[in-house]
Symmetry: C2
Subunit: 136 residues, 2 copies
DNA sequence: ATGCAGTCTGTAACCGTTACAAGGTCAAGC
DNA sequence: GCTTGACCTTGTAACGGTTACAGACTGCAT
């Protein structure tokens, strides 16, 4: 009867920025509670489920995996919110990201160094020769 | 009869640092030429195929996808080595890596900023509350 | 001859999303 | 009512690349 009635999966997708396929996927793996079904079999989403969806999206945006989101939800849905768990997870992720940045930086310099060794005027590509010889 | 006889897939794996499963996969998708088979059905790898494997590994190590390696091989196996193609590919990759670094840096600061807002002494985790509300 | 290690093929899982197919449903316009 | 188009349903498969099985065979050493 309120303005939130008849929110189909398409509406939920538009509001959350998550595709209908992914929403169904989240439901199937138990990450999202199963919404009410109409007589036609359609899913109708409550505000609560929409909020949950927004939260999933927010965690997703900061790089959390679905499994991690599941754990975070378990940690935050209890009586106490286990802020420590959240903080630990955030910092662990930050560390992972940092080390990925480091290796990507090394990779980028290596790529540019290799590219600079390319000399299209020569008969043989020095880079290709190098790649063929060793694993450097 | 030389020292390179009877190089099985396991030997090739140890020499190349690529698992037997991946080697078989490369062969199946046509990235690696099918090696000779013994009467027992075993694959026996020639030096040429081992070299090819090492090259694949080298390209892989600098982040090339198997499809890109296929293209690179086509470009480098022709009569002329198409150094330009290689160089273009390298630089395109470097650009991609650079932009990924940028977004990962933004992600890392966001993660650390969120973590710093965590205050385990409080009743409610500020981060969780924030995640629940908007998609910031 | 007995066992262990290696190899063979085929299949499925991993992660998360996307794209189908084939069928049912809703809402608008006429 | 009837058509049209947009939406929903389920199930299945693909994407990339690796890993892990299962069940059967082989090589080599003791």
């Amino acid at each position: 009867m309120s303005a939130t009635t008849s929110i189909t999966i398409g509406d939920a997708a538009r509001r959350s920025g998550i595709s209908p396929e992914s929403i169904r996927h989240y439901e199937r793996i138990g990450l999202l509670p199963s919404p009410v079904r109409g007589d036609n079999g359609y899913r109708y989403f409550s505000q609560e489920t929409l909020d949950r969806l927004a939260t999933i999206r927010a965690w997703r945006d900061i790089g959390m995996s679905l499994d991690e989101i599941r754990e975070l939800s378990a940690a935050t849905e209890g009586e106490e919110m286990r802020c420590e768990t959240v903080q630990r997870q955030l910092l662990a992720h930050a560390d992972e990201v940092r080390s990925r940045i480091q290796s990507l930086k090394a990779l980028e310099s290596r790529l540019r160094r290799l590219a600079s060794e390319c000399d299209p005027s020569r008969d043989e590509c020095p880079v290709v020769r190098q790649m063929g010889r060793s694993s450097l």
